[in-house]
Subunit: 380 residues, 2 copies
């Protein structure tokens, strides 16, 4: 059998065709009215997608660069930061704060679970001098959603800012920056934003700008201040990835036209369809509080998860992700975000069912697909 190639891992995700074409148009100079006009629209559209009135800074880097920017611009060496861990990306926050010599407190959440907001509240009462809480919108390594809205309410009543790594999901996973009182949201271009990797963003609230003024850490390329000043001139401080910004513009045009409510509803439905489908095949989920943009499916006992993940690729042309660190070989992670649709989800369920069958664990594929399609067809 011939299978097309399908990229269904949680990033990079498939690139919107209009964005691919936009990225291949001939180069123009970045200090021109023509390019400034593109950037001006992009900066406005990003606010729409982030659901914020605050400026959204645009960096030429991977998402990790913007995470580092948040630490370098918001923290001090004489004020503690609080890092919520419970997966690879929560851990990354702690690696960065430590690299910068920021005193770092940690709340360790078991992998697969979401943080209990009460623990954060208690911590901030005990340590009100904490400069920032660093957490994750969609912890891709476990497919868990932390309760960002609750954390926003807690931090807004303190002198601590809330910084959310939304790289793996912003623009798909519901994130209402201003309404949820999130001070800084980080995003990356290669996930729900439907374009190639290479751009990262950070929205910065007024409360966060106050922290920027107090920060005593070194920064240059990732300086929030410098980027902010350049937004006012419809430009960036250093030569940006022009072709990726053409692509971003194409993707944002589409997202703004669809509207964030519709985008969230669509992703919630894709997520629920995948979970119901997996459940109807008799399989279980790794995440206790799952995100909508990706699903971590527990590999049934007796099945080699590494083999199963490889089989997606070799037998069915589908790229998915396996488990990392402690859950290596124990889960497969399937994304349903950005430029992916219900039938991509069907392909993933099909490959999952057939792959398990080939490895000796038969499941009812039809039941899984039927359950998934039922969710897709439900009245809103």
């Amino acid at each position: 059998m011939f299978y097309k190639r399908r990229l269904l891992a949680p990033g990079p995700t498939p690139v919107l065709e209009d964005a691919l074409l936009a990225s291949a148009r001939p180069m123009i100079h970045h200090r021109t009215d023509e390019f400034n006009a593109v950037l001006k629209q992009v900066f406005e559209q990003l606010k729409t997608v982030f659901l914020t009135k605050s400026p959204v800074l645009l960096f030429t880097s991977s998402g990790t660069g913007a995470m580092e920017a948040a630490v370098a611009n918001l923290c001090r060496t004489d004020r503690p930061a609080l890092v919520i861990r419970g997966g690879k990306f929560g851990e990354r926050w702690g690696e960065i704060t430590k690299a910068y010599g920021v005193p770092t407190d940690v709340i360790d959440v078991p992998w697969g679970e979401a943080v209990d907001p009460a623990l954060v509240e208690k911590h901030l009462k005990a340590k009100p001098q904490t400069s920032a809480v660093f957490t994750t919108l969609s912890e891709t390594s476990t497919c868990v959603a932390h309760p960002i809205r609750d954390l926003g309410a807690i931090t807004r009543a303190t002198d601590t800012v809330l910084v959310v790594d939304g790289i793996s999901g912003l623009g798909g996973q519901e994130c209402r920056t201003d309404e949820w009182q999130v001070d800084v949201v980080i995003a990356g271009s290669q996930k729900a934003l439907m374009i190639p990797p290479g751009l990262a963003m950070a929205s910065v609230s007024d409360r966060a700008w106050a922290k920027v003024k107090e920060s005593n850490l070194p920064k240059y390329y990732f300086s929030f201040d410098k980027h902010h000043k350049n937004i006012a001139k419809d430009t960036t401080p250093y030569t940006p990835a022009v072709s990726l910004i053409f692509a971003l513009k194409a993707a944002l045009d589409r997202m703004v036209a669809e509207g964030m409510d519709a985008i969230f509803e669509r992703h919630q439905r894709l997520g629920r369809a995948m979970r119901e489908g997996v459940g109807a095949m008799g399989l279980t989920l790794f995440a206790k509080r799952p995100v909508d943009v990706a699903t971590a499916v527990n590999v049934p006992a007796g099945v080699d998860g590494g083999k199963l993940k490889k089989m997606f690729e070799t037998d069915f042309g589908i790229t998915v992700a396996g488990g990392q660190d402690a859950i290596k070989g124990k889960v497969v992670r399937i994304a349903h975000m950005g430029y992916m649709d219900p039938f991509d989800g069907l392909a993933a369920l099909g490959a999952l069912g057939m792959g398990l069958g080939r490895l000796g664990h038969r499941v009812d594929i039809g039941a899984g697909m039927g359950a998934a399609m039922k969710v897709i067809e439900e009245k809103p």
Copy 2:
């Protein structure tokens, strides 16, 4: 008259068509054998282009990010650095060292001139504890070439490393990293490497690795060590700009096939043709020691340089650069690097001659073009 658009500014430069197409191919996952195989070749080809046996690190950022990386990885807060200024990009080195709290000594060279190596030698004798000398291969703001080879010989006899910002020119302007004893060379993707902006590189010598071990500055995204360890696994520590790396591969394939000696000879000839052409039109050059990849032409007295620069764009479809800061309105800067050929140079000379004529300063355009073509046709 209808004129095609021509991008002849010193970066971003026109993108090789094969690279544009490569950047528009569908996305693949970055943690795959397929992508690792691309990166493995890219890492090897970069060594060929940099003329070094040392590893060449690859960052998803603009060139400035890699400059910051060099400072953050090589310097200490208790050892001075020496910055050679004499243009916007020399000045940038000093801005970065200061942002990181590195004690910074400066040699100020008048704009348009190259540094006198004897001054550097004298400085390092007086301050042998200097960790690094930061300078520029092609100082785009003035189109001056600093004597990198001489600086290499001087620094190699000391405990100081030589760091060269080769962003605006590496892959066009002659730079023989190992032979010239340069410890770190920085490059950017959007100049002579013929692809869009968004990638930056740094070659790191054994002597520089010793400095990396001693450095006490914070870094995470730009950590030399982390990038180096990942090269051994044919990968990068964070999600790279996959589509730009496809483009880079296409450009490097072409450069390696042509060979660096041929590429340097071609750029030297393009540079000389432009300078002879400009001279034969009775105009003068701003740079006393000019680079081959771009030419800064002095705007004749009585002509409004701002108008002339704009006229390139509005009347002839050609993007060039004007002067910055102290020389604003006094020069136009025309690039001849990367994916530009002799006939692009002719177009620039034609627009220069016609533009000056329209502004009341008549020149002998034919003489300029004849002189340029004579250089192109000379036997090697």
